[in-house]
Every structure is written in structure tokens, then in C-alpha cells.
Amino acid sequence: MKLLKVSGTIILSSSLLFGCASNAEKTSTSEKVKAKAPTSQAELTGVTDEYRAYAIGEIEAFVKATDAFTTAVKNGAIEQAKSLYGPARMHYERAEPIAEVFGDLDPKIDAREGDVPEAEWGGYHRIEKGLWIDKTTKGYEQYAEQLMKDVNLLRAKVDTVEVTPELLITGAVDLLNEVSTSKVTGEEDRYSHTDLYDFAANVEGAEKIYQLLAPALKKKDEAVAKEIEARFTDVYNLLNQHKKGEGYKLYTELSEGEVKGLSQAIDALAEPLSQIGLVTEAS
């Protein structure tokens, strides 16, 4: 593949980049990267607005699903709570690039055992442990209560997020990296083994970003876009083999070979997807 000699950071302009501190340190960067306005800047701005709407939509759905889930916990409806757990989390996992911007809320909602000191541990996974290991909702009402508060707070804060093209570019691959590092290993939902729900949601979230950037990407490199689409299809084909009714099989029902197959399919997708930054290049 021919390498493009690039001249652009492009998007830097008006929007505040996340993690721009490191950028400021590298003063030499500004020399080599001439902030040339890309032809597609307007296009990318439209995309960030669309993504914002998508992410807020998912967070809103997450609020509703969390409400149903926490209500079930508080009512002691353990089976109902268990059936709501996996699907509810999918909304959060789809919108993860946005959700995790709030470094204080993400651990409260989504920390796994051992991620935070025991005394501070609450949120989805704490309740998961109650439902599947302790097999009770008793004593977990307070966690349900707090979780709902935190999710409501997340919804309120999401409005303040500034979505930049960089957030999208890194977010797409980050979602798949999440899959590679914690879903594939089965450690995300270690009590309920509903990891495939999170897995699928991360992939869907990445695909959404891809779809938004696809028109711009196709102008720069049609072949990469085609490859990405083919690899998404491969991953979905594999995931579909593990569907069960409305949802997915338990992660523990997968053979070692099937887990490896999923992992390698994610690698095969994430490699071309990592070229999505091509959209920043001036044509």
C-alpha cells in the first residue's frame, strides 16, 4: 500500500482535543504538522454532531434499562433482574467512548471486583455478584439505588461532552481493544458470563463510528473501507453463531477454539479499522 505523506492534523482547530496536554508538550509537532484545513472539515463536524446524538440516545436507553434493572433488584425480583442485566449493559458498552470520558462515574457504574477498593465497589458488577454468586437481592438495594443515581448523573453530564473527530477516530479502535483485552478473556462479566452481550455492543458501537466516517474514508481509501466492511461481516457472522433466543450464549458455553476464533476476528477487523484516521488527511 502506498503511504501517504501527510500534512495534517487538521482537526486541531477549534475543538478542544482530549488529551491535548501531550500535544502541547511536543512543540516540534507543530512544525511537521502544518495545520492545513482539510477539505472534509465541514463533513467531519456533521459527523461529530451525529455521533453525539447517537451516544446520547444510547445513554438515554441506558437510563431506562437501568431503571428497570434496579427496580427489579429493589423489588427482590431476582430472575427478572438477571434477565435485564446483560441487555441493559449493551447501551453503555455501545456508547463507551463517551461514557468513559467521565472518569469519576465510569468506575462507579462499571468497575469490576478489584478495580477499586472493596469499600468503594458498587455498580453493575457488584450487583451482578449478588445475583449470580450470593443468589440474592437482599442487601443490594442500596447498590441499586446508588447505581440509578450515578446513571442519571451520567445522562445529565453527557450533554456537556464535546465530541471531536479525534474522539471518534480513537474511539472506534478503543471499543475493539476493550473486546480484545477484557471481553475475550471472559473477565468482564465473570459471574453472569454474559460477556457476549458486551462484546456485541462494543462491536456495534465501533461500527456506528465507522458508518459515520465511512463516506469520508471512502474518498481517501476505498479499499480500506471495503476491507473494514468485510471484516465487520466476519465478526457478526461469528457472533450470530452464538445467539440464543433474543440474546447470546453464556461465555462459558463457548469452546476454546470458538473464543480464539472470535479474538482473531476482532484482530482482523481492528487492524484495517485503525486506518480510520486517514479521514484527517487533506486530499
Partner: protein, 430 residues
């Protein structure tokens, strides 16, 4: 910023430390301006070119040629060997993969990065970077195709079935084989050898990255030999049993001999493999704990050689010819009938070019012993006339079998070499 300081430091010692490559690389990153002003890039280049390239030329094995490198190349210190499964079902993907691999390997073997350094911060770098600044370290990258590339589950996967050589079939099951799926077979292989393991790993890593979506890792094994630094006399390396291994090997500098023993010749089989070679790989676990508690006499009887000198029984020096006929006063052959040296040699009519490496993979989780042994790699013109009869003899009665277990096995046809502009595999795929 740090880079600039480096350059200034180095420039006091120009010629010895900065190679032309370094400068170009640094220039690519930007910030070479400091030196430019001071001395002018042109002048600097002319100084470094003469000295640095001569030094580097010693560490570069040419990638292009009639045959692939890494076969008759003097054995480097390390190997990183991988077997791959092809996941794409399209022949054009496979062809593109070999084209991309060829380009990348040609760069890698010159100690270069696999892609230009992109200055776009929003893209991952083309090259993974861990070999930046390192010499080519005599890197060779050798590609092979396995039987399952042609036919798998009775499917003619890529329309190549009619090109499958009759010699390129799964090896027969030998007595005592304890093969494990996870160490066996493969559609393709890459053998990366270098005098530096990081350089070898970097090559494989980048080639696997290029293959993503087309091929996946099936198994991987590193191997080592004593380094050239540790063995300035360049003696035959010792295996993990402490014995010299590979004393009898055909002379890689004898072209006639190589054509006879190693390179596939016209008329041997399909023309596409002429100037290629068959590679047999065996991952042989060595029970070193057991070995270490056997007596020296037992150890030497096992090999039929003296441990210290490497000389065959009854001789003084390592390279003295074997005396297969000599008997002791009890009427037994001095070189025991079940000794490794005697059985490997047979009647001397079969030879293989061995390029074996030791491996150590931490602990065997089942037993708590070392998982260590030999990554046996050998090249030949005809497995059915070379490796297979030798291994049949060894598997039946080699005394060494008490201390080893063959856990992995694969056969590949290493493709012929190519010229700049061509690609490895062109004779097979076109």
C-alpha cells in the same frame, strides 16, 4: 527534543555511530535541522556512507536471489518460527499477501522499517518500531507453503490442487510420535532468523500484522543457539544435552552438493518449486531433568560421541569420519547400533541440511519440568528420500528416544527466490 540532543552527541563521533539510515530516519521524524546547519547533510552523508555501510554490509543477507535466503545462509543466533493458517478464501488476497510480504521482507532484511514514517498522529505507525536503530543483524525471512494450502478437508481451496507436489504431503506417523495439534501443521510458514531476537521478532510481528484478515497464527516457536559473541571460535553448537549437534552437515558453500541435497531441481516435480526446498520442522521436547541424572557413559553411548570433543567413538576429533565397522574385544560395534550418530548416518546415502535451534519455553505446566528441547529444522530436495527414511530409522531404535518426545511436526515447501519487482510465490500463483 531528545532526538536532537542525541544527534549532536553522536556527531562528535561521526562515521562510527550514525549510519546513513539513522540520519534519514531522523530526518523523517523532523528536527534534524540542528545538524544541517552545523555541517550540512550532504557532507555528513558522505562521511558515514563509506564507513557505516561497510560495517553494515556484513550484517545484511540479501533478500532477493534465485533461492530464498535463510536456507544455506550461515545459521544465525536466533530463530522466530511461525506456522500460519490462511483464513481468506480468495486467491487474490493470498497473492496480495505474498506481494506485501515480499516488499516488507526486502526492507526488513536491510534493517529498514516496513513503511515510511507517517507524520499523521491519527494513524498507527506503519512499522511497530522496536527495531528502530538496530542493525539488520543478518535477518533472513523464509516463506513456505504447507500441504493444507493446496487441499484441506478435501477442498481444492485456491485452485492449486493440480500444482501440489507429490512430496508435499503430511509426514507419515513415525513410531513414538506424540504430536499435539497445537504444534502441528500449517498452511504457510515464516522462518525469521537473525543474530538478534528482537530483530527476528520484529520481522515476524510486522509480517503477521500485514497478514491480518488473511492469515492467522497457528503456532509459534523461538529458538536459540550459542551466539557468535560467546563462541568466537565458531565451533559446532551444543544442544541442551550438552553435545555438539550437527557435526555432519552438507557444505553450504558447495553449490553442487546443495543442488544434489537441498534445492529442488527441474524434473523433480512441478516446475514452480525448482530452486525451492522442502522444510521439515519437528518440535522435540527434551527431558533434560532425566538426562541430567544419567551417567556420562550412558550419555555418550546414546550419541555415540564423546561429549567433550564431539569426536565419534574410536576417533580423536569431531570431524573425523565415523568408523562403522570397528568392533571392541567383545565383538560389539564400538559405535553402538542404537546410537544417534550411527542411526542418523545410516549408510551415508541420505543427507539433510540441518538448521536446528534449541528452545526453552518456561515450564511444562503439567509436570513442573522445563519445557525445553530442539526446534529441529532441516532442508532437503526430497523428503521421501531424505528425512523420512532417516527418521524411520531413528524412531525405531534411537537410544535418544528415551530422553525426547516429538510434540510438533510440519512440512513446508519453501518457495524459490525472486528478483526485485517480483514476489515470493510468483511461480506458484501465476
Amino acid at each position: 527534543m531528545e532526538k536532537n540532543t542525541n544527534i549532536i552527541d553522536k556527531s562528535s563521533d561521526i562515521g562510527k555511530k550514525i549510519s546513513r539510515r539513522d540520519i534519514l530516519k531522523t530526518a523523517g521524524v523532523g528536527g534534524v535541522g540542528v545538524i544541517l546547519g552545523a555541517s550540512g547533510l550532504g557532507g555528513l552523508l558522505s562521511i558515514t556512507e563509506s564507513k557505516a555501510t561497510t560495517k553494515e554490509a556484513h550484517e545484511i543477507v540479501p533478500f532477493y536471489g534465485k533461492q530464498q535466503s535463510g536456507i544455506t545462509t550461515k545459521t544465525q543466533n536466533h530463530v522466530y518460527f511461525v506456522s500460519l493458517d490462511v483464513t481468506t478464501s480468495k486467491k487474490e488476497d493470498l497473492v496480495q499477501l505474498f506481494k506485501d510480504w515480499t516488499k516488507a521482507s526486502a526492507l526488513l532484511s536491510e534493517g529498514k522499517a516496513v513503511g515510511d514514517l507517517s507524520s499523521n498522529e491519527f494513524l498507527p505507525p506503519k512499522d511497530t518500531g522496536e527495531a528502530a536503530g538496530l542493525s539488520a543483524s543478518n535477518l533472513t525471512v523464509t516463506f513456505g507453503v504447507g500441504p493444507s494450502l493446496f487441499v484441506k478437508d478435501s477442498q481444492d481451496r485456491f485452485g492449486l490442487k493440480h500444482k501440489q507436489p507429490s512430496e508435499l504431503v503430511d509426514l507419515p506417523k513415525f513410531p513414538l510420535d506424540a504430536l499435539e495439534d497445537e504444534w502441528t501443521g500449517g498452511d504457510l510458514c515464516i522462518q525469521a532468523c537473525a543474530d538478534d531476537l528482537q530483530v527476528a521478532f520484529h520481522a515476524v510481528r510486522n509480517l503477521i500484522r500485514i497478514a491480518r484478515g488473511k492469515a492467522i497464527l497457528r503456532w509459534a516457536q523461538t529458538g536459540f543457539q550459542r551466539t557468535k559473541q560467546a563462541d568466537s571460535k565458531n565451533e559446532t553448537p551444543r544442544n541442551l544435552f550438552g553435545f555438539k549437534d550437527g557435526s555432519i552437515n552438507p557444505d553450504v558453500n558447495d553449490e553442487k552438493e546443495m543442488n544434489k541435497q537441498v534445492w529442488v531441481q527441474p524434473g523433480d516435480g512441478p516446475d514452480w518449486l525448482v530452486n525451492g526446498s522442502y522444510l521439515v520442522v519437528r518440535r522435540i521436547q527434551m527431558f533434560i531433568e532425566v538426562w541430567d541424572r544419567s551417567t556420562l557413559k550412558e550419555q555418550e553411548n546414546t550419541f555415540g560421541r564423546y561429549r567433550d570433543s564431539g569426536a565419534p567413538f574410536g576417533k580423536k576429533n569431531e570431524f573425523d569420519p565415523l568408523d562403522l565397522k570397528h568392533k571392541n574385544d567383545k565383538g560389539e560395534y564400538s559405535l553402538p547400533v542404537n546410537s544417534h550418530t550411527r542411526l542418523s548416518h545410516g549408510d551415508g546415502s541420505q543427507q539433510i541440511l540441518r538448521r536446528a535451534y534449541s528452545y526453552s519455553d518456561g515450564m511444562d505446566l503439567k509436570t513442573g519440568s522445563f519445557d525445553a528441547g530442539l526446534l529441529f529444522l532441516c532442508f532437503q530436495r526430497s523428503p521421501s528420500k531424505q528425512f523420512i527414511p532417516i527418521q524411520n530409522r531413528l524412531a525405531k531404535m534411537d537410544k535418544l528416544n528415551e530422553y525426547t518426545s516429538h510434540k510438533g511436526s510440519a512440512i513446508f515447501a519453501c518457495l524459490p527466490g525472486t528478483k526485485p519487482g517480483g514476489f515470493i510465490g510468483e511461480t506458484l500463483f501465476n
